[in-house]
Amino acid sequence: MDFRYTEEEEAFRREVQAFIKETVPPGWLGVDPGPEEESREDVYPLALKTWRRLGEKGWIGLTWPKAYGGQESPLWKEMILLQELSHHGVPGVDVSSAQADLVLTFGTEEQKKRFIPPITRGEVKWCIGMSEPDAGSDTFAVKLRAVEEKDCFVLNGQKIWSSGAHHAKYEVVYARTDPNNKHLGLSVFIVDLQSPGVTMRQIMQMTGLAPFCEVFFDNVRVPKENLLGEKNGGWAILLHAFGAERTYGLFVLYNAKRYLEQLVQFCRETHVNGEPLAKDPIIRNKLAQMAIEIEVGLNLGHELSWLAMQNQPTVKASSQIKVHGGGVAQRVANMGMQILGLYGQLSEDSKWVKIGGRMRHTYLGSVGFTLAGGTSEVSRGHIAGKAGLGLPKR
């Protein structure tokens, strides 16, 4: 057992840190991972720039086959990259890679050659078309219909909560090809969002940002070459997607680490009535508690990475870290708000604001961390079930 990183790994980490320093503006306070904050007008150009530059360095799809533009690097490299990007709150890291992973796993040679290289070059963004108004946690309740015709599939229906759809070129859409079989009647399509019949509506979140979309499909014709995997084989892709979703909880924890560091800094520098906040025993206790929870979560993350690198099943560990990470992030946000007291309420563009209003943002945004990408309740079910603790189903 050895918890250290190798020389090589540390060297790569330093390279990534240098990259980040060059990419983000000075005094960058960071944004939360994922498409949510990236969609902000003041952030999106940086996100695009970062995505391109990551592509130029060959850092998108590090572990993918060289034939499609990847580097065939070992998994640890990708882990370190993602750790550093989330820790520093760099925009531009999103779900596109996860969708590419599906194409690499289930796609034809032709599809891989067509879709993967532009992603690795940082030229296109993808999004997910899974949830519907009546299909949230119950993913198999998807109703969006895909009817097979001679030369294409025709899609009718709608998706919701598609993060970043308004910036994306392609959407991986889960559609119903067999209305008579709930679990075995789904197929997955790669839909060009410029197709005729596709319309979108951005949805405003309680954070004041609108990164989510409803995506409407009105007789959208999708070429048969864009069917991913087998017709009615969507269940296998879904399962793979859940299992491969290893990073969400981890992102959230590295992100929380940044908030903690900002708070510690704030407490050291801020005096109230002559005393630094950092000397207040109650604040010390709170900060320490947060540090402990984050550290423990990150260690769980190391285990997750290690399991992944050994090609061992990761559903249980990734579910655990998702549940833990979401909860930790919410507690960190709340404690941060408590430490800032009345100041925590101020928006980032308000006079008197502290730490750029980041605590307020994450206090609102972190509500979603136990919901998006699978709720904590569903994740706990995975942990308890046959992939984890082996408890019996009802």
């Binding site: 207040d280 025993p281 109650i282 206790n285 009802r394």
Partner: protein, 418 residues
């Protein structure tokens, strides 16, 4: 709206307080509503029996019961005040209000005239102790799965099977025992209650030791025990109605847990004021102040909610949703006080004799124990408070479905036959 008690009520409370001032030794450490100390320690049990006779002499047993059977027909508020005072002082003998009272209530509700005349007067005179026979190894939260058989053979029910987790069984004279009288009916429809005299041949008991070190529970075994059929309480196979009523009578248990644990919080506050560490009283430690105040707040809020239960009962409203809330709070908060107590005592919290502050301290082994080892006892025994008398999970289920109107979970399909 008025959160005060009337002068009459306050006068009664004063009378009760004076009584305890006289009857209890000045350093009485207090027993808990779970009555485990009385069950486990003979000397406390004897004291409890004697005290109960004194309650009886004051007419405080069966306060609200019909005078015909030896009760006082006093208003319910009188009983509430008595319970509150008993609980806060941790008076022994007040299991009267849990087990005895609960049993008496169901006899009065479901019993025949003959049964009422037979069983209630001795209860009012403080001459008897009762237990309750509900749980079995395979019937805990799922009480309806109970299996102890009661076969009607001629003039007798013949009982075979076992009960477990029986508080006070080894001290008791009688118990209503929940039996299966018809295995062919649906689970909860084939249950009957029979009143068992524990001296009946064929009954054996085995004491169980809890993690607190107290052997306060029993397993009770029934081997062809013949109980006269006159001892059937309520309808044959109508036991489920009695179950519901019995649960209803336990409604104050959560409140009692909260009232009782305040005594321990007060102890901790006192301890912090008197104890100095490196010259500084613990009471000046910012973190401890915060935590003690937080606990005091939680107990105060919970106690206030408890008044709502009583208020609803007095108005003839169904208090079960609030009673469930109190059960949940009682369990969780007593555990929190215990955890806090252990945190405050630090390493010292680990020390002390079984049962806590009852002065059976070993001069050597317990030399350094603080607060008589009360916190250690609490820490071990409160584990049970979210389980006994109905788990917190069951309470939440009841609160959600019956209290908030949420739909029940659909029953799973019957398990496949092996």
């Amino acid at each position: 709206m008025d959160f005060r008690f009337t002068p009459e009520e306050e006068a009664f409370r004063k009378e009760v307080k004076e009584f305890f001032g006289k009857e209890l030794p000045p350093d009485w450490p207090g027993v808990d509503p779970d009555q485990y100390h009385e069950d486990a320690f003979d000397h406390i049990h004897e004291f409890s029996k004697a005290l109960q006779k004194k309650f009886a002499a004051k007419g405080w047993l069966g306060l609200t019961w019909p005078k015909k059977y030896g009760g006082q027909e006093a208003p319910l508020w009188k009983q509430m005040i008595l319970e509150e005072e008993l609980t806060y002082r941790g008076t022994a003998g007040y299991d009267a209000y849990q087990f005895l009272g609960g049993c008496g209530d169901i006899v009065l509700e479901f019993g025949t005239e003959a049964q009422k005349e037979k069983y209630i007067p001795p209860m009012c005179r403080g001459e008897v102790k009762w237990a309750t026979g509900m749980s079995e190894p395979n019937a805990g939260s799922d009480l309806a799965s109970l299996q102890l058989k009661a076969d009607l053979q001629g003039d007798y029910f013949v009982l075979n099977g076992q009960k477990t987790w029986q508080s006070a069984a080894h001290r008791a004279d009688f118990a209503p025992v929940y039996c299966r009288t018809d295995p062919n009916l649906a689970k909860h429809r084939g249950i009957s209650i029979v009143i068992v005299d524990y001296k009946t041949p064929g009954i054996t008991m085995r004491r169980l030791t809890q993690m607190s070190g107290l052997d306060a529970f029993c397993e009770v075994f029934y081997d062809n025990v013949k109980i006269p059929k006159e001892n059937l309480l309520g309808q044959l196979n109508g036991g489920w109605a009695v179950v519901m009523s019995a649960l209803n009578h336990e409604r104050t248990y959560g409140i009692q847990l909260i009232v009782n644990i305040k005594r321990d919080l007060d102890l901790l506050v006192q301890y912090c004021r008197e104890t100095k560490v490196n010259g500084e009283p613990l009471a000046k430690n910012a973190l401890l102040r915060n935590r003690l105040a937080e606990m005091a707040i939680q107990l105060e809020v919970a106690r206030t909610l408890g008044y709502k239960v009583n208020s609803m009962v007095l108005k003839g409203q169904n208090p079960m949703a609030t009673a469930n809330q109190m059960k949940i709070l009682g369990g969780i908060m007593t555990q929190r006080v215990a955890i806090l107590g252990m945190q405050i005592l630090g390493l010292y919290g680990q020390l002390g004799p079984v049962g806590g502050n009852w002065k059976q301290m070993d001069e050597k082994k317990d030399k350094w124990a603080r607060l008589g080892g009360r916190m250690k006892h609490l820490y071990l025994t409160t584990v049970c408070n979210t389980i006994a008398a109905g788990t917190t999970e069951v309470a939440r289920n009841g609160l959600a479905t019956m209290g908030l109107g949420l739909p029940r979970e659909p029953k799973p399909a019957a398990p496949a036959k092996k």
